[in-house]
C-alpha cells in the first residue's frame, strides 16, 4: 500500500513472475498490469503458459520468483482461499463443479464461502436457504432459474459453464479471472457468454483467457499475447492484432495445428 500509485489504481500487477517445472520454464518473468475497471485478455498459442499464469495469480501454484500484487497488496505465495477472500474469483478452464449438488446448492455454497457459516456443523442446512433471494438472482443472471433444483451432473455443457460464472459472481469479486469462458461452446452459447461477461464486467476488473479472437475482440480493452511463457506483445486489441510478431506466432500455430 505504501508504493506510489500515480496512474489509475492497479487491480492486478505482476513483477518478473516466473514459474519453472523441473527445468522447464512455463512462465518467464511476466510483467502484467491491469488497471481497475478494465477487461484484459490473455491470449497465446497452446502451451504459452496462460493457464499456468492463472494458477499463479490465484495461488494454486507458487511462483519460482517474482511478485503478484492485487489492489496494491502483495499476495505472492498466498493460499487460494485467502486470495479469494481478497476479492479475487476465478473460473476454471475445464468445467469444475460439484457433481452431487444442484445449481442452487452450488450457489448457496459459493455465497457462504466468504463467511464462517460453513463451519457450523451443529446447525441445520436450512440455514443455507436464508439467502434465497440472492441465489435466485444469481441463477437468473446466468439463465439457470429453471434448472435450479435439477442435478448438475445431467446439465448440458453450456449450462455448466453458465453455472461456473454464477459461482464466480457469488463471491462478490472485485477482480474476476476467467479461464476460457467460451471453451468448447457452439456459436450461440459463445454470443450469450460474451453478453454475460460484458454484463458482469461492469464495475469490476476482468482478466480472461480465450482462444477465440472474436471473443477477445468483443470484450477486451487490452490484450496481452503470451508465447512460450513470455509476453510477446501488449496493447489495445486492434494494435496487437496488427502486430507482425503476433501474426507470425498465431499463423505459425494455425498452420502447424
Amino acid at each position: 500500500m505504501t508504493s506510489t500509485t500515480p496512474t489509475p489504481r492497479c487491480a492486478l500487477r505482476t513483477e518478473g513472475l516466473t514459474k519453472d517445472f523441473r527445468g522447464f520454464r512455463a512462465v518467464s518473468s511476466v510483467d502484467l498490469e491491469v488497471a481497475e475497471g478494465t477487461v484484459h485478455a490473455l491470449v497465446g498459442p497452446n502451451g504459452a503458459g496462460k493457464t499456468t499464469l492463472f494458477n499463479l495469480l490465484t495461488g494454486f501454484l507458487k511462483p519460482t520468483s517474482g511478485r503478484i500484487m492485487v489492489f496494491g497488496d502483495d499476495v505472492t505465495g498466498m493460499a487460494p482461499e485467502r486470495i479469494t477472500h481478497r476479492g479475487v474469483a476465478r473460473s476454471f478452464q475445464i468445467t469444475s463443479l460439484f457433481e452431487n449438488l444442484t445449481p442452487r446448492e452450488h450457489v448457496e455454497i459459493a455465497l457462504q464461502g466468504l463467511t464462517n457459516q460453513g463451519l457450523r456443523f451443529w446447525r441445520s442446512e436450512k440455514l443455507l436457504g436464508r439467502r434465497r433471494d440472492e441465489v435466485d438472482r444469481l441463477l437468473a443472471e446466468v439463465g439457470l432459474t429453471e434448472l435450479a433444483d435439477k442435478p448438475t451432473g445431467l446439465m448440458a455443457y453450456g449450462q455448466k459453464r453458465a453455472l461456473e460464472l454464477a459461482l464466480v459472481l457469488a463471491v462478490e469479486p472485485k477482480l474476476l479471472l476467467l479461464d476460457e469462458p467460451t471453451a468448447g461452446m457452439g456459436i450461440e452459447d459463445v454470443d450469450r457468454t460474451i453478453e454475460l461477461v460484458r454484463r458482469i464486467a461492469e464495475g469490476r476488473t476482468v482478466v480472461f483467457v480465450d482462444h477465440n479472437m472474436h471473443v477477445v475482440g468483443q470484450l477486451a480493452d487490452r490484450v496481452t499475447v503470451l508465447q512460450q511463457g513470455s509476453v510477446l506483445a501488449e496493447g489495445p486489441y486492434d494494435e496487437v492484432r496488427a502486430d507482425p510478431r503476433v501474426i507470425t506466432a498465431y499463423l505459425g500455430e494455425a498452420h502447424s495445428a
Binding site: T58, H85, T102, E108, P151
Partner: protein
C-alpha cells in the same frame, strides 16, 4: 479420491435420494431403526447387542470421514482404542458413572485427533491412509510398552460399570444396554446433524472438487481437520461404550486390524450412506459371534469372503444397493 467416495451411488441417484425421500419415509425409517435398536437385546445375547451398537456408531463415524469427505482413514483404531483405554482409566481411577467416563474417553480421542489430523489431512488418497495407519500403530506400541498404566498385553482389567448405584445396570448386560444406548443414539444423531449442516454441504463440495472449493474461499484443510476430529470423537464414544460393556480393554482394540474391520463394515453397508455402517456392523458382529460360538476359528476367511462378494457384486454396499433398488422400483 472422488472415485472412492462416489462409488456408492451415481449422481442422479444420490440426488434422487435427497429429493425423493419424503418426510413420511424418513419417519418410517427412523421408527424402524429405533425399534430395532430397542428390541435388539431381546433377540440377541445382550453383550453382543451392545457390541453391534458400538461398532455401528464406529462405522457411522468412519463414514462421516470416508463417505462425506472422501478421506479413507486406516488408523481409526487409535480413536476407538484410545478412548477405550481413557474411558477405562477414568472409570477405574475416578469411579465416575460410566457415561461420564465414556465422554472423557471421547474427548481424549478428539484431543488425540488434533495433531494426527493436522499432519495427515495435508495428504490425500493412499498417503492419508498410510499416515493415519502409522499414527495408530505408534499408539499401539505405546500402549503395549506402558504396561504399568495399560496392562500391556494383558489388557486393562477391571473396568467398572458404575451407574448411580443402580445395580441392574451395573451387573446385568441387558439393562446396561439400555443405559448405554442413548450414548450411541446421541452419537448417531450428531453424525446426522453434521452431514445435514452447512458444514456437511461444504464437505460434500470438498469431496467432489477440492480445488473448486478453495477457489470459493474455503480453507479445505481446516474443514478436513474438523471433520477428522468430529469423526474421532464419535469413534471415541463408541470405543468407550465398548470398553465399559466388556469390563476390560484388550490391546487389539488399538491394532490396525480394528481399523480394517471398521472400514470393512462401512464399505459393506455402503460408503456415503451414513446408516449403511449400522447394517455392516450388525452383519459382521453377528457373523463373527455365530462362527465363534459354533467353534469355527477362521472368522477372517468368512468375513473376508463376504466382503469380496459384496464389493464385487454390490459395489454400492448393502444400504446403497437397497436404496438403488427402491428408487428403480419407483421409477419403473
Amino acid at each position: 479420491m472422488t472415485s472412492i467416495a462416489t462409488a456408492g451411488a451415481s449422481v442422479t441417484e444420490q440426488h434422487a435420494a435427497i429429493a425423493g425421500a419424503r418426510p413420511w419415509q424418513r419417519l418410517v425409517l427412523l421408527a424402524v431403526g429405533l425399534l430395532v435398536a430397542l428390541g435388539l437385546p431381546w433377540f440377541v445375547y445382550p453383550p453382543v447387542a451392545m457390541d453391534i451398537a458400538a461398532w455401528a456408531l464406529f462405522a457411522v463415524a468412519l463414514d462421516l470421514l470416508l463417505g462425506y469427505c472422501g478421506l479413507l482413514s486406516f488408523g481409526h483404531a487409535a480413536f476407538w482404542g484410545g478412548s477405550a483405554y481413557a474411558t477405562g482409566l477414568i472409570a477405574i481411577h475416578l469411579g465416575v458413572p460410566f457415561p461420564l467416563a465414556v465422554l472423557g474417553g471421547a474427548v481424549f480421542a478428539m484431543i488425540l485427533a488434533v495433531p494426527i489430523g493436522y499432519l495427515s489431512v495435508k495428504r490425500s488418497g493412499i498417503y492419508f491412509a498410510m499416515v493415519t495407519l502409522a499414527f495408530a500403530q505408534m499408539l499401539f506400541f505405546i500402549a503395549n510398552q506402558a504396561s504399568s498404566l495399560t496392562g500391556g498385553e494383558n489388557g486393562l482389567q477391571g473396568v467398572p460399570r458404575s451407574f448411580f448405584g443402580i445395580e441392574a445396570v451395573e451387573t446385568d448386560a441387558f439393562f446396561f444396554y439400555y443405559a448405554a444406548l442413548p450414548i450411541i443414539l446421541l452419537g448417531m444423531w450428531a453424525a446426522w446433524r453434521i452431514v445435514h449442516s452447512p458444514f456437511g454441504r461444504v464437505l460434500v463440495a470438498i469431496r467432489d472438487n477440492a480445488p473448486r472449493a478453495r477457489a470459493l474461499g474455503y480453507d479445505v484443510e481446516r474443514y478436513k481437520l474438523i471433520v477428522f476430529v468430529l469423526s474421532a470423537g464419535l469413534s471415541g464414544l463408541a470405543g468407550g461404550v465398548f470398553a465399559v460393556s466388556h469390563g476390560f480393554v484388550a490391546l487389539p482394540e488399538l491394532h490396525w486390524t480394528t481399523s480394517g474391520e471398521v472400514v470393512l463394515m462401512t464399505v459393506l453397508g455402503g460408503i456415503g450412506t451414513l446408516w449403511g455402517g449400522v447394517i455392516g456392523a450388525g452383519l459382521i458382529v453377528m457373523l463373527a459371534d455365530y462362527l465363534a460360538s459354533s467353534g469355527f476359528d477362521g472368522i477372517g476367511i468368512v468375513t473376508g469372503g463376504v466382503f469380496v462378494t459384496v464389493v464385487l457384486l454390490f459395489r454400492r454396499g448393502i444400504w446403497g444397493t437397497a436404496r438403488h433398488l427402491w428408487l428403480n422400483r419407483k421409477r419403473s
